[in-house]
Structure formats: C-alpha cells, structure tokens
Subunit: 245 residues, 2 copies
C-alpha cells in the first residue's frame, strides 16, 4: 500500500492510492485506517514529503565502505531540510562539492525504544526514498555532520510511503542525474543491516511515529551541479525526483 | 517580560506574567502580543518547556576550554529529549557518567539566516535556562554527539523565556546539586560569544521561530546520580529545577 501526503482543498492530508486516485485518510499511524471519503485523482495530486518528522536520523556506516575506525554511528539532520518531490535543492555555493546520496528511509509507525532484531520491523510504518544531500567537503572539517547537512531542501523525501516492501534488506537503489545512471547499489551493500540500524538508534533514542531513519548511502553518493535533475529510485518503493538549483 | 508555556483548561497556552498571574496570549512570536483574556494564578500554573522547538542546536566550543584542535561546531539534539521544569531526567545506567550542563539557551523569534554580529540579537525572542544532560563518557567513542545526548528528558528547558535579559554575553550561570553550589560561571567564559554562536549556526542552517540554540557549558558540567535534585540558575532569567531518576 502506498501512503502519500498531499495538498487538498481542506489542507494537507495523508491519502492511500487505489485505482488511480488518492483516498484521503485521517491518520496514517492508526489501524485500521479511517477514510474521510475525499479523493484526489492521481494526476492532480501534489505530493509532499510523505511525513513531517520530528526527528530525522542519519546513519554513519563506518565498517567496510570507508577506512573509519569507529563502529556504526548516528546523527541528527535538521527537520528544516525536509523537502517534497520536485522541490528544488538549493546547492550551497563556495562550500565544496555537493553530493546527492540515494538511500532507503524508514518511517517509524509506533513508538520504538530498545528494539531487537526480532521486533524492529514491527515498529515500521513503511519505507520511502530519501536524498541525503551533503556538502561533502565539509565532513573533513566538521565531525558533527552539521555544516555538510543543513542546506535548504537538503532532505528530499518521497514520493510516498510503501508499507509492503517485500525485503528492506534487499532493496536496489539507483541514482540518476539528468536521466543518466550514476550509481546502482542497494541496501544489501550497507555495512550494517536496516534492522541493525533501527536496533542501534533505538538503543539510545526513543523514536516516535513519523520519525525517519535514513539508512545510509551504499555507494550511492554522486556529485551534482545547479541545473541538474536527480532521480533516486528505490526498488519496490518508487522514484524521488528533485531539481538542483 | 517573562513568557511561559502552561497547561490551561483550554489546552497548552503561552502566557505573560503580570502582577502574580500568567495572562494567556495567542502567539508568543507575534508583535504586538494578543491576550486571550484568560489568566492563571502564578501559584497554580504548571510550567512546561517554554517552547516546543522544531530544532535544538548545541554548540561545540573547541577553543580554550579543551584541547580540541577544531573551531566552533554545532550539532543537533533530538527534540524528543526536551523536558519541562520539574520533569525527571532519566539518567542512563551502565553507560558511564551522567553530567548535567548549565547553559544559556537562545529562543529564536523570527526566521534567521546568515545573521551578522550587528543583527543577530534582533532575531531573538528571549532567553531561557537549559540543562544539556550528557552521557559524557560516550563522547569519546561517538564523535557525532548522538549516544551522549539522546536520553529521556535530557534537555530540560525553562522555567520561562525572559525577553529583556540586559546582556546575554554577561549572564552568570550556576549549577546546584541538592542545594549545594557545584559550578559558578557565565556566558562571559564561553570561547565564542552568544552572538558568534548565532552567526555561525545561521551561516549554515536557517533557524525558525521557536528554535533553540544551546550556547554551551562554560565550565558548568557537573556529574549527578539518581536521587539528585539539580538547579540551573541563569542570572537575569531564573531557576530551572529537575529531579534525576
């Protein structure tokens, strides 16, 4: 099932896709879902970031993909950076290379503390694509990941939440710039599994419904320039498109 | 002027203190303030964290107070850690020493990007006390400040916002544990000034009304244990009390 967040005549609504329309719902985090009766034709829906998270956590994978001596880490990214499909990433000027990073994002469905490998996925509402835009040269001088990760629209999310991804540990991830494939990998290349990320994060921080965990870029960081169009494709989820300006 | 956030019969409200009562207002970020006509006697008011920030930024002062070779840095603390006056800090067990850190917190009043030394304070609504609780031993193994800063009620804020602090660069800060003075310092001991913190943070991240910048602990970190009572006193603002459990 796909859950999106869209603009409607009565304000911002979550909605479920059925037969070419988005059917408005009251609350994506309740079960069973309640439908308001309102619908928006898919072709007319303006898709927003599918959640408005209170917390966005990124994962620093420090094992096989680089030479960093530390184990898995996490860090917070400002929620002010969250953007929707189609929003323009404002690439910082004069601050080094701007990378897009294609990642699988986990959307938490219920309060999650001290998750285990056995119950972690039970706390997930679903999955979406995230583009963890980064001023990558700043990471060398800013070990806190602040300077590299705080730009305007630096966290495009979307296009929707897929609640039925068959196996989040085996989701292919592609990055396209101006339609040209630039990276082709998947969560199977992450040093720590998606489940391990959730277990680690919730061993320190209690997550709440709507929070987002960006599971890291498995070799999916690609430099971009103003004028580029970027597509992040997560297999089984969809395509998240952004302009770079 | 003191602006608090309190529980009322009609829900959570901001309020202004006058003559022993809290006078309810519509929105602390608008000028002039609009009063609803409702009041709560000061003795009956349950004070909450005086804002519900979307972003809480901490400052890493890396100049004279330690031997770190890097300049000023910033990092995000989870908003899930924000607590009100009197809330119980859940000190992590088995994860090393738990420090309280008494700091001056800046509450942003209007959107703030690329602030300058000249205009920075024009974007401030006011000041409150913050206790940046930290599992300090984790910082040695977690350069992202995630493991040390994510515990339950690890960011007590309050008791109110003081909009008329005469000079935020010269605010004394005291830390008391069980009534005993344990640290006595002030913002005048910070390696970077309060204004410099705001200039630095907004050179990378656009802050919004209600966001909080914790300006750092000028030698005001004190270890605590379950059962302790902690008071953070910021001269000209007030006293923020917390239990440690």
């Amino acid at each position: 099932m796909r859950i999106a967040r869209i603009n409607t005549a009565s304000g911002t609504r979550h909605a479920v896709e059925r037969a070419g329309s988005w059917h408005h719902i009251v609350d994506p985090f309740e079960a069973p879902l309640r439908f308001t009766g309102g619908t928006t034709p898919a072709g007319e829906a303006e898709l927003l970031a599918p959640v408005a998270p209170a917390v966005v956590v990124g994962i620093g994978h420090n094992l096989t993909l680089n030479d960093h001596p530390l184990p898995i880490q996490a860090w917070h990214k400002s929620v002010h950076t969250v953007a929707g499909p189609g929003d323009r990433i404002v690439a910082a000027r004069g601050r080094g290379t701007v990378n897009v990073e294609g990642e699988l994002a986990v959307v938490i469905g219920k309060q999650a503390a001290d998750l285990t490998a056995e119950n972690a996925l039970d706390h997930v509402l679903g999955y979406t694509c995230v583009n963890d835009v980064t001023n990558v040269d700043q990471n060398a001088v800013d070990e806190r990941n602040f300077q590299g990760k705080a730009g305007v629209n630096y966290t495009p999310l979307g296009p929707w939440i897929e609640t039925a991804l068959p196996d989040p540990e085996r989701a292919g991830i592609g990055v396209f710039v101006n339609g040209v494939p630039k990276a082709n990998s998947g969560t199977f290349n992450l040093p720590s599994s998606v489940v391990d990320c959730l277990v680690y994060v919730t061993s320190w921080l209690t997550l709440e419904p709507g929070d987002v965990v960006m599971t890291g870029a498995p070799g999916t960081a690609v430099p971009v320039e103003p004028g580029d169009r970027v597509d992040i494709v997560v297999e089984g989820v969809g395509t998240l498109a952004s302009a770079v300006g």
